[in-house]
Symmetry: C2
Subunit: 344 residues, 2 copies
Amino acid sequence: MRIAIIGYGGVGRAFLRLLLEKKDELLNEGIVPNVKYVIASKGGVYNPNGIDIEEFINYSKTNKDIMKFSKGNTQQITFNNIIENKDVDVVIEMTPTNKKTGEPGMTHIVKSLENGFHVITANKGPILLAYRKLREIASKNKVQLGIGCTTGGALPTINGGLIDMAGSTIQSIEGVLNGTTNFILNEMETNKVEYVEALKKAQQLGIAETDPTLDVEGWDTAIKLLILTNVLMEEEKKLEDIEVEGISKIKASEIFEASKKGKKYKLVGKAVRLEDGLDMSVRLEKLDPSNPLYGVDGKNKGVRYVSDTLGDLTIIGGASGVTPAAASILRDLINIKRGYKFII
Amino acid sequence: MRIAIIGYGGVGRAFLRLLLEKKDELLNEGIVPNVKYVIASKGGVYNPNGIDIEEFINYSKTNKDIMKFSKGNTQQITFNNIIENKDVDVVIEMTPTNKKTGEPGMTHIVKSLENGFHVITANKGPILLAYRKLREIASKNKVQLGIGCTTGGALPTINGGLIDMAGSTIQSIEGVLNGTTNFILNEMETNKVEYVEALKKAQQLGIAETDPTLDVEGWDTAIKLLILTNVLMEEEKKLEDIEVEGISKIKASEIFEASKKGKKYKLVGKAVRLEDGLDMSVRLEKLDPSNPLYGVDGKNKGVRYVSDTLGDLTIIGGASGVTPAAASILRDLINIKRGYKFII
């Protein structure tokens, strides 16, 4: 399988490592990975015979500029060369997310699909902005678009809705989809501290970013909910259609009161089909232990689908980190190789 | 898609109803169901042009002997005629389970696969006794074998392990897989009654059978655990390899004591990879609310997989009843149509 990797951050590195570590398992699937391109923001390398992955990983550990990797036949290259050469089967798009334009991922995905390459992406931007359009391009060109990594990484939210609910209509989606807020709420409960202190700890541990707005104000949850809703409920909603509330106003005393009654606060994203349309929200909810999302702790995420014929399905898991994220990309790759048509 | 239905009990009826109710959704998948055969224990009917499903359902509501259904070109028939005629794409095998011989399902499945028909089955017997052999026959004949219904019905245990964990190695399986014991344990906790009384109520409600041994002594859980282990962990274990304990010895006082500490007893089936082999057991375990299987209540089932690269995955759901079971067969049918290779 001839592969191009676009975007070479933590997940890209972890993905290359997985290709080596999972060599035997991949061979069992009939997959012999042949990575022809690795392209970072300023350009990258190309080897028509395949890049020596082990050498490349070692090189890039100590050398920031991957374009200088020159082992074997390796040449310097940019994205457009992939389109000119037309010598890959799948493009793995992992450039940073831009939620306004989707670029540069949008162009990479569109051009790759149009040229008959499967695409697997970790990039939320293009999926958020243009899933339906991208699906149409993929369908027209008879290739697949794997987006499992965009909504929970290792947590199989997309598979759960598309494959495990096949033949059933999803009537509502409910999810605890953001690890950072989950951690902060847990921290407030366990150590009886206020929000500001819990956030500081999350930042010290690298769990929350310096500017935590995206997570704590609910936007990360909203984005994931939006992608799930549009993909699984055949909608074309926008972020503006979601009522979004964050967690910054909750008091330790409220969490403590809830805890005394055996309940837990979680930031829940919800899309519910009503008679007059779809109601979408992100807000703090007090869950009791009988709710299957109650047990979703700091490390995990969870989502619950309610359907007409297959009942409820709750999926909990999805360890955080670059390896699980890379493993979710590898999962899409294997499932596409096994013949699965995410897009018909 | 040309279909043969073997076994016409509650799930078979529900499946035919779903084919009608989900007509539009199936058309979107490119599936136009053409049911050529419906065969019950004494024989059945065949129509080379397709049986009129609506007429057939109505007929079979009031007429026990489906062989007398004679609308259109319909003829009386037995299983062997399917093999002679070779005019179907998929055989849905739903005859009653025999755990000693697997028959008559075993013969139906083997012959169908050998003749190049996909098989989807709700029958645990053949899968329990000979999954590996059946997988080999399917692989050799380039057809698929859908077994999602055999281990939890609507709960996507097989999909979860095969598709959602693709590329990852499952290190342990842990499941609350039996609805009847779950109901009895709930009943003992909620109404503070002893086992015998809770069992009686379950029997009155039709949740437990007159001879409840299979459920309450843990064998149903053991069978499902065995299938999951052999399919998802590449094992060839037998029922004798599992240490099986039921729930009949638990006292209401023990459940009450656990409940006071916020814990719940569940009948848990477990397969854990250890350095010196695989440890398999079915026994009562006291779960605390942080365990994702804690929230699996009377109506639902749940399973948890621990993997190397994709973290933990817990799947909870799977409403009981003939419609969800039939919907899980339809799910396998759709996923096979979408090109998925459960078997490579």
